[in-house]
Each structure stands twice: as structure tokens, then as C-alpha cells.
């Protein structure tokens, strides 16, 4: 097996609760946004990280790139430890790892032209200037499917899909080999979403990119991911190769999530599991298995309420954190 390009072990990020009453009162509970998350991604592969809002999936993406500082854990990219790097070495490593954000409206500077946005990383990392930079910018735009004349445009002159293409071009400008894609198509219309997903697949092949694809939409992830990890309340509850996870999920949360996705086929005969209640607050996760209050598994028992299940291998390559993973829903 090829060594992983990205290796994450025991990643933890807790956000401290602020003190009430002008900072004098008792502190609020700590929010356990990311709680002991581990995974690895082989070069040229895509790991889909899925979960509902507030499960910690975006925090994982940002902590890996140290856009927020992780509290514990080890992250290596191509063998280099990201967590302990000093500022200068980290900046150099940023050439290797980039991020594309969800909101193509909020993540582009409204006062900069597309050209300026693409020239900036080239200058910061001393990759190219002058005529060489011009040539690279034109090539980048072409590579993401935009006419080079877009270089003179400001973000407000672009559609959502065009902006997301600019966001991708900006990330690619420093020639990274690892991209964190944080809900890159969620804000786009479905016909444009398909274009951008195809573009991401093409770029991955051409440039041999490794992706961490963060999304809430399981159908989108199925389309692009080789491996999938499902998060719930800061923890990975199931991780498996995509065909296995979609074909025979072992965690009741994965099964419920899959059954809740509307399928565009009125004839589809599906048993829909409708989960009761809301996701609990990550500041007050339930004891035992964090999913137990909503869990539809018929066998759930006292153990689920007291004993947190470990993430363990339940089938070759498939990990699940459930006491009843051997008897899936």
C-alpha cells in the first residue's frame, strides 16, 4: 500500500466556553468541536468527510491546515509534521496544501480583480512575476474553464459558479498537492454544481491532487470520494471505502442519514428512517454513545447510555463506533 499523503492522528479541538456576566461569572461548558479524529488519505485519493451542521467537519479541515490551532493530535503531510512547524516553515508548507471555501461570495475580496487575486499567491511564494506570472494566470483561468478575459473582472461581476472557479484557481496557483474542499458546491445551483464537480474530478486526475472533501450532501460525496468518514458530535462514527459505506453501512447514524436523502425517483421504494429530535449541543454531548438519544436501533440498551463505543474495525477496511455494528439496521 502506498504511504498516506495526509495522516491525521487523534486530532482534538475544543473551544473554551466564554465566561458569562462580563467575563466574571462561571465559564460555560467547553465545546468539543473535534474529539479524537484520525484518518489517512493516500496520494491522488479523495476522503469525503460528511456530517450535519455543527458536527465539527469544517473544524477538522481548518485544524489540519492550522487555520485554527489544534489542541492535540498529529497531522503529517507528506511525512512533514504540520502541528509543530514554526511560522516560516508553515508558510512554506502552505504551498503544498490549500483550501477552497463554501461561500464563493464571502471568500473573494470584493476590491480585488481576479488577476490580483491570482497574482498575490504567486508573489508571496516567489513563484512567478512579470510575464511569467501573466502566462500562469491565463493558464490557470483556462484550466478551471474561464476565459482569460475574466482576469480583469471583480467578484461581483461573476456568477456563483464562476466565483467558485476563481476560488479553485487561486488554490491551485501555488501548485499544491493537497486540497481541503469545504462544501465547495453547496451554494451552487444543481446544473452548475455538476460542472464544478466534473472540474474537480478532472483537476484531480491531471494534477494528481489529494482531496479532503467536506460536505453535508451524501449524494455529492458518493460521486467524488474513494473513502468516506461520517462525523457526529465531533467524532468519526464510521469510516470505510465509499462502496462499502454506501452499500452496507454499519453505524445506525450512517444508515439513517442515507435513508433521509431524498432520491429523485418517485418509484423509489425505500424505507425511510426519520430520526427524532435535534443534534445535541457539542457543549453537552450525551454520556455513553453520543448518538444514543436519537438512535433508532431496536437493540440499544443500558450500555449505549453509559459506555462510549470505540471506533473499531467491523469488516475489512470498515470502522464503526457502535456496540451493535455486527447487527446493522
Amino acid at each position: 500500500m502506498t504511504p498516506a499523503l495526509v495522516d491525521v492522528r487523534g486530532l482534538v479541538k475544543h473551544f473554551p466556553g466564554e465566561r458569562r456576566l462580563l467575563g466574571l461569572g462561571p465559564p460555560r461548558a467547553v465545546v468539543r468541536a473535534v474529539d479524537d479524529v484520525s484518518f489517512a488519505i493516500a496520494p491522488g485519493q479523495t476522503l469525503g468527510l460528511v456530517g450535519e451542521s455543527g458536527c465539527g467537519k469544517s473544524t477538522v479541515g481548518r485544524a489540519i491546515l492550522r487555520l485554527i490551532e489544534p489542541d492535540a493530535g498529529r497531522v503529517t503531510i507528506d511525512g512533514q509534521d504540520v502541528v509543530t512547524l514554526g511560522a516560516r516553515a508553515l508558510r512554506a508548507l502552505r504551498r503544498r496544501m490549500q483550501i477552497v471555501f463554501q461561500d464563493p461570495y464571502g471568500s473573494l475580496n470584493p476590491r480585488m480583480t481576479v488577476h490580483q487575486m491570482l497574482a498575490e499567491p504567486l508573489a508571496i511564494h516567489r513563484i512567478a512575476s512579470g510575464a511569467d506570472a501573466e502566462r500562469r494566470i491565463a493558464a490557470l483561468l483556462e484550466e478551471v474553464g474561464l476565459d482569460p478575459s475574466f482576469a480583469q473582472s471583480y467578484p461581483h461581476e461573476l456568477s456563483g459558479g464562476q466565483r467558485q472557479r476563481v476560488g479553485i484557481a487561486r488554490a491551485l496557483s501555488v501548485e499544491p498537492n493537497f486540497l481541503v474542499l469545504d462544501e465547495p458546491v453547496s451554494a451552487l445551483d444543481v446544473s452548475v454544481q455538476a460542472q464544478v464537480l466534473n472540474l474537480l474530478a478532472d483537476l484531480q486526475q491531471r494534477r494528481r491532487l489529494t482531496y479532503l472533501f467536506i460536505a453535508h450532501d451524501l449524494a455529492v460525496v458518493k460521486h467524488i470520494a474513494d473513502q468516506v468518514a461520517v462525523m457526529y458530535l465531533g467524532k468519526i462514527v464510521e469510516r470505510a471505502p465509499a462502496p462499502t459505506l454506501y452499500g452496507s453501512p454499519r453505524h445506525p447514524y450512517t444508515t439513517s442519514l442515507l435513508s433521509a436523502v431524498p432520491v429523485p425517483d418517485p418509484q423509489a421504494q425505500r424505507q425511510r428512517i426519520v430520526l427524532a429530535g435535534d443534534v445535541p449541543s457539542p457543549a453537552h454531548p450525551p454520556p455513553g454513545c453520543p448518538f444514543h438519544p436519537r438512535c433508532p436501533h431496536p437493540k440499544k440498551d443500558a450500555r449505549c447510555r453509559t459506555d462510549p463505543p470505540a471506533l473499531r474495525e467491523v469488516a475489512p477496511g470498515q470502522l464503526a463506533a457502535c456496540h451493535f455494528a455486527e447487527e446493522p439496521l
Binding site: 479523495t46 450535519e52 451542521s53 456568477s159 459558479g161 445551483d189 444543481v190 446544473s191 452548475v192 454544481q193 455538476a194 460542472q195 464537480l197 466534473n198 474530478a201 453535508h216 450532501d217 451524501l218 449524494a219 455529492v220 458518493k222 460521486h223 467524488i224 470520494a225 474513494d226 465509499a242 462502496p243 454506501y246 439513517s256 442519514l257 442515507l258 435513508s259 433521509a260 436523502v261 431524498p262 432520491v263 429523485p264 425517483d265 418517485p266 418509484q267 423509489a268 425511510r272 426519520v274 430520526l275 427524532a276 435535534d278 443534534v279
Partner: protein, 343 residues
């Protein structure tokens, strides 16, 4: 055939743009009917005019810059809503026709309790006393599945989760037992497990209360699971209209076809085995400059000369469909052999 509950005919809602340079023809000649008790799905992407259509039905279009053009016709139980006096319109709006919006955060008033907000319509329209209205609000909260309604009735919106707020919105809309509920992207802002709860709730309430629903959404999966009939909109027009099963089995407009091919599907084989999504090239044109001829022709893989020159009317689908039940705005219906994409 029963008399339709709502009949929209040749609705045109235009907006004068900020620069004063042009007119955005956001909704441009839309016609459809809603039968009592049925669910009509309206699908389309941003900018297709689906939300403006629903706001026009309730006459909630801000004038200026918007206006509903003369010749448009919206009939609810035999009365033209567009010519009603404001007083008569108010008696219908929020009472017989209710609406829920996409953003439960911004559509609820943060300074009133949810109970007060639910009770308001009952006090205004049904002249309930405050005490009776409060009791009704608690009943409504129970109906929409909120636990501890006696306690929750005094809570403020910020004390509730997104899914709970959407339930409150539904309770508000249904407090007067409307005959028609317009739901504009009611689940778009919600997580998928919460979306499933809300869709199930709407289904149940519709069956219990016998109301008709217009379900506006961009999600073909939501439509497939909930609607009896579907209207597909593109560039301010209805481009295809059919019973749900027929639309998904035999999508005839190239836009409907493209939309269905664009959706990543959970029932498709996993990545690496099935190749690429199809997508639709280009993007939705601006409402100030719809293309000449068929408005979809610049993105259509089948377009030929006629499509560029002449705007197609809605044509019957044929193929065994009863006339008028499945209609398509596309010249391909006059020349089906052309349904082979250009190389």
C-alpha cells in the same frame, strides 16, 4: 373534473432594475392550476422566477420596483386576487392562503414569543380572545410535534433550533387552517435528518387538514417524494408540466432532462465506476435579457434554427398522455427525430 382551487393564468411580474436601464421579466406568462388537496411542486434553479410567482399569488411583490402586468390573472375559489380590495385580500392572506419561507431565522420576529406569533393570525382572522388564541397556539405546537408545548409557547425564537423554528413557522401558517399552503424552499436551510422530519410533518398535516400545497424547491428529490404534479420553470416561464411519475419517467424538455442528469444520486453506482455528471453548460441568463426564440436554446444540446428564431408554445406531450396533463415548451415535440445531440 373538479373546479381548481387556484388558477394562475398568464402571470407576468416585471421589475424595473436599479439603473433604470431595463426591465427584468422575472415571471413572464406563467399559467398553472392547483386542485383542492393536491401538492404541486414548482422546481427550477435560482433566478427562474419560482419565488416571484409565489409572492405574486399573495400580492407580496414590492411596488415599485415590481409590478404585476395587466392581463395577468390569479383566481382563488373563483375570485381574482389581483383586483381584490386590500381589505378583502387581507381576509384571504394568512387565513385561507398561508405561506412558509425558507429562512425560519429571519421570518420570525425575535422580540415576540413564538406563542404570540402563532396566536396573532387567529386573533386577527378568527377574532379569538387572547386566552383562546394561546390555547390554540399550544395546540398548534403540539400538532407540529414540538415537545412540551405548554412551556415552549413562551419561548423566543432564539431559544429554538433551526428545525424547531421551521416547525413554528408551519404552526403559524396553519393556525387558521388554510385551504392553500405555499411552502417556499421549506427545508433548504435544514440538515438532511431535520429535512426528513419536516417533509414527513407536511405530508401528515396535509392529509389531516386536507389542504393543497404549492411546494417550491430546487431539489428534484424533494419533489419526487412529495408532489402529485410538477411544474418546471426556466427563465420566467413554465417549460414543462406533468404528473410527478410521468415527469421523472419521461422528462421531455431538454432542461428537465439536463436537470435530472445534473443531480448526483445516492442510487447511482459509487464514484470511479460511473464517470461524469452531465450538467448543463453555461448558466441561467439574466432576466433583463432573455435569449430570443426559445430561452433555453443557448444551453440546449438539440437546438436548431427554429429554436433560435421562434419562441415555442407549451405543446402536448402526446404518447398516451391525456391532452393538457403533460405539456412541454419545446419544438422537439414537433420533430422528435432531432432528439440526438449534436456531435
Amino acid at each position: 373534473m373538479t373546479e381548481p382551487l387556484l388558477r394562475v393564468r398568464d402571470l407576468k411580474t416585471y421589475f424595473v432594475t436599479e439603473q433604470g436601464s431595463g426591465t427584468a421579466r422575472a415571471v413572464d406568462g406563467v399559467s398553472f392550476e392547483v386542485q383542492p388537496g393536491e401538492t404541486l411542486g414548482i422546481v427550477g434553479e435560482s433566478g427562474c422566477g419560482k419565488t416571484v410567482t409565489s409572492l405574486s399569488i399573495l400580492r407580496l411583490i414590492p411596488e415599485p420596483p415590481g409590478h404585476i402586468r395587466p392581463g395577468s390573472f390569479i383566481e382563488f375559489e373563483g375570485r381574482n386576487l389581483l383586483t381584490l380590495e386590500p381589505r378583502d385580500l387581507r381576509a384571504i392572506r394568512g387565513n385561507q392562503i398561508a405561506m412558509i419561507f425558507q429562512e425560519p431565522m429571519t421570518s420570525l420576529n425575535p422580540v415576540f414569543t413564538v406563542g404570540d406569533q402563532i396566536a396573532e393570525a387567529a386573533i386577527v382572522h378568527q377574532r379569538l380572545s387572547h386566552r383562546a388564541a394561546r390555547t390554540r397556539a399550544i395546540e398548534m405546537l403540539r400538532l407540529v410535534g414540538i415537545p412540551d408545548p405548554e412551556e415552549r409557547v413562551d419561548h423566543y425564537p432564539h431559544q429554538m433550533s433551526g428545525g424547531m423554528r421551521q416547525r413554528v413557522m408551519i404552526a403559524m401558517a396553519l393556525v387558521c387552517h388554510p385551504k392553500l399552503l405555499i411552502a417556499d424552499e421549506p427545508t433548504t436551510a435544514l440538515d438532511v435528518t431535520i429535512q426528513a422530519q419536516i417533509l414527513e410533518l407536511l405530508d401528515r398535516l396535509q392529509a389531516e387538514l386536507g389542504m393543497a400545497v404549492i411546494l417550491i424547491t430546487h431539489d428534484l428529490g424533494v419533489v419526487a417524494g412529495s408532489a402529485d404534479r410538477v411544474v418546471v420553470m426556466y427563465a420566467g416561464q413554465v417549460v414543462e408540466q406533468a404528473p410527478t411519475a410521468a415527469l421523472f419517467a419521461r422528462p421531455l424538455h431538454p432542461y428537465t432532462e439536463g436537470l435530472l442528469a445534473s443531480v448526483p444520486r445516492l442510487d447511482a453506482p459509487p464514484a470511479r465506476e460511473h464517470g461524469r455528471l452531465h450538467g448543463i453548460p453555461g448558466q441561467v441568463p439574466a432576466a433583463t435579457a432573455w435569449p430570443e426564440g426559445c430561452r433555453f436554446h443557448p444551453r440546449c444540446p438539440y437546438a436548431w434554427d427554429r429554436c433560435r428564431a421562434e419562441a415555442p408554445p407549451l405543446l402536448d406531450a402526446g404518447g398516451g398522455a391525456e391532452p393538457g396533463t403533460h405539456t412541454v415548451r419545446c419544438w422537439l415535440l414537433t420533430d422528435p427525430r432531432r432528439r440526438t445531440p449534436h456531435p
